[in-house]
């Protein structure tokens, strides 16, 4: 197509070859926007926390209020409940943006989609995973969790929930085009959640029995760095697939 050079009208000065503003500006704006959105719909943000608290409250009533009994199952219980609470909040991660058309605009940004998606996931973790991790020691008291293990509980949940958010976002991105993706997300991501659950609950269990917790936390950290490296690309690809339909 060599003819386009001589036949073109003047004033193509509008054309730019690269976006002017930095990538950081776009990422910061996406972070700020998603945090603002969640703060304006607090109910949505509180849902997983309330669910977490309710489930943990019911266990002493349902099983037995005996501290020794509760303490032995507390690490697993806290982790399972936190994992399900995080799962509960996943469906809304991209759904709002999909329904009002903001998602297709996100995909049309000249900036790399994996990084923009990562910003959204970071907000999800900040508003769901981190509060869950901070709340867990409080609920640990209710389950008579031994005193020395609270810090490990919070740390393992903070690390682990970040992995959960990253993996879960892949499922959320894959199902965002479906009208009812909730159950499907669970089926998709639960198998991938299992290693996180094993090492997360394992860390707390180790803290309870006085064993070395660093091995478990290190594996959680390794899982997080792998997820950080790979999940953004999987999320971006999943979003493209979902919007291609």
């Amino acid at each position: 197509m060599s003819s386009n050079v001589e036949s073109s009208p003047p004033v193509p000065s509008l054309l730019v070859s690269e976006p002017e503003g930095g990538l950081m500006v776009a990422i910061r704006a996406t972070l700020a926007r998603d945090i603002t959105l969640l703060l304006r719909r607090r109910g949505e943000m509180l849902n997983p926390l309330v669910f977490f608290a309710l489930v943990i409250t019911l266990f002493p009533i349902g099983i037995s209020p005996e501290p020794a009994m509760l303490a032995s199952i507390a690490p697993g219980l806290l982790w399972v409940a936190a994992l399900l609470a995080a799962l509960l909040s996943l469906d809304s991660l991209f759904r709002g943006d999909h329904d009002d058309g903001a998602l297709e605009q996100l995909l049309l940004s000249p900036h790399p989609l994996p990084l923009l998606a990562l910003a959204k996931v970071a907000v999800h973790w900040l508003m769901t995973g981190l509060p869950l991790a901070l709340m867990a020691p409080l609920l640990g008291v209710m389950l008579a969790l031994p005193a020395g293990s609270y810090l490990v509980l919070a740390a393992s949940l903070a690390l682990g929930s970040a992995v959960l958010s990253l993996i879960g976002a892949i499922g959320a991105a894959l199902t965002v085009g479906l009208s009812r993706g909730g159950v499907l997300i669970s089926l998709l991501v639960l198998p991938l959640y299992i290693p996180v659950l094993i090492f997360g609950a394992g860390a707390v269990q180790a803290a309870v029995t006085g064993a070395n917790v660093m091995a478990h936390l290190a594996i959680l950290g390794a899982l997080l760095s792998v997820a950080l490296g790979l999940a953004p690309f999987a999320i971006a690809a999943s979003l493209r697939i979902s919007l291609n339909g």
Partner: protein
């Protein structure tokens, strides 16, 4: 380098039915290309293909003489796409909505410095006084105007507009039509689907779908 979007032998199949086949079209700088056709004839699909959103098509797509797949980022840096859904967050004010779009588009002054520009864009589109009202409380037409304010705010050569006149009142339609004419007058290009009849000018060309 001059703006030129070209499609050759474009074909798209949906549910065992060809929406269009062997479609050749070219959009050059300073042109409005209007896609016509009855409901369900594939106008939105064509627009999504031409704006690089759908990959399920046959044929070739070129941007400024290069294959679209290779220069996608360049292409996106020159594009504003307004879809069916306005992409306006109900919980955010028009100003906050625009701030995100400005940053997303890679505008240099997306932060606080951009506030006067955003105010001016909303003023120009007829939303003066509504800057701080959550978009969810605005009417459908006003929400559509928030989306249209991006055209004022973010200078881009290629506008791809899917039914931009929906829910806009008569004055707004006239203003938007004038804005389109001004944009192509400056060397920009517009790709638009609409049932609204645009004023015939030398710059306006039409492609009709759904007659096959």
């Amino acid at each position: 380098m001059s703006l030129r979007l070209q499609a050759r032998k474009l074909a798209c199949e949906r549910d065992d039915r060809w929406l269009f086949r062997d479609l050749d079209l070219t959009l050059e700088a300073g042109e409005i290309l209007r896609i016509e056709g009855p409901n369900g004839s594939g106008k939105t699909t064509l627009l999504k293909i031409l704006s690089g959103q759908l990959s399920g098509y046959e044929g070739e797509l070129e941007w400024c003489g290069e294959p679209m797949r290779r220069v996608r980022r360049d292409f996106l840096a020159n594009l504003i796409y307004l879809g069916h859904a306005p992409g306006v967050k109900a919980a955010l004010t028009p100003l906050e909505n625009l701030a995100w779009y400005q940053a997303l588009a890679g505008e240099a002054n997306a932060g606080r410095n951009g506030q006067p520009a955003r105010m001016a864009a909303l003023e120009a589109i007829g939303l003066g006084g509504f800057e701080d009202v959550p978009a969810g409380q605005l009417s459908a037409g006003q929400q559509r105007r928030v989306a249209l304010a991006r055209l004022e705010l973010i200078p881009r050569a290629l506008w791809v507009l899917d039914e931009p006149f929906t829910a806009i009142d008569r004055d707004g339609v006239a203003a938007l039509e004038a804005r389109l004419a001004q944009h192509v007058g400056r060397g920009g290009s517009v790709l638009v689907t609409t049932h609204h009849v645009l004023k015939a000018t030398a710059r306006l060309r039409s492609v009709r779908l759904g007659d096959a």
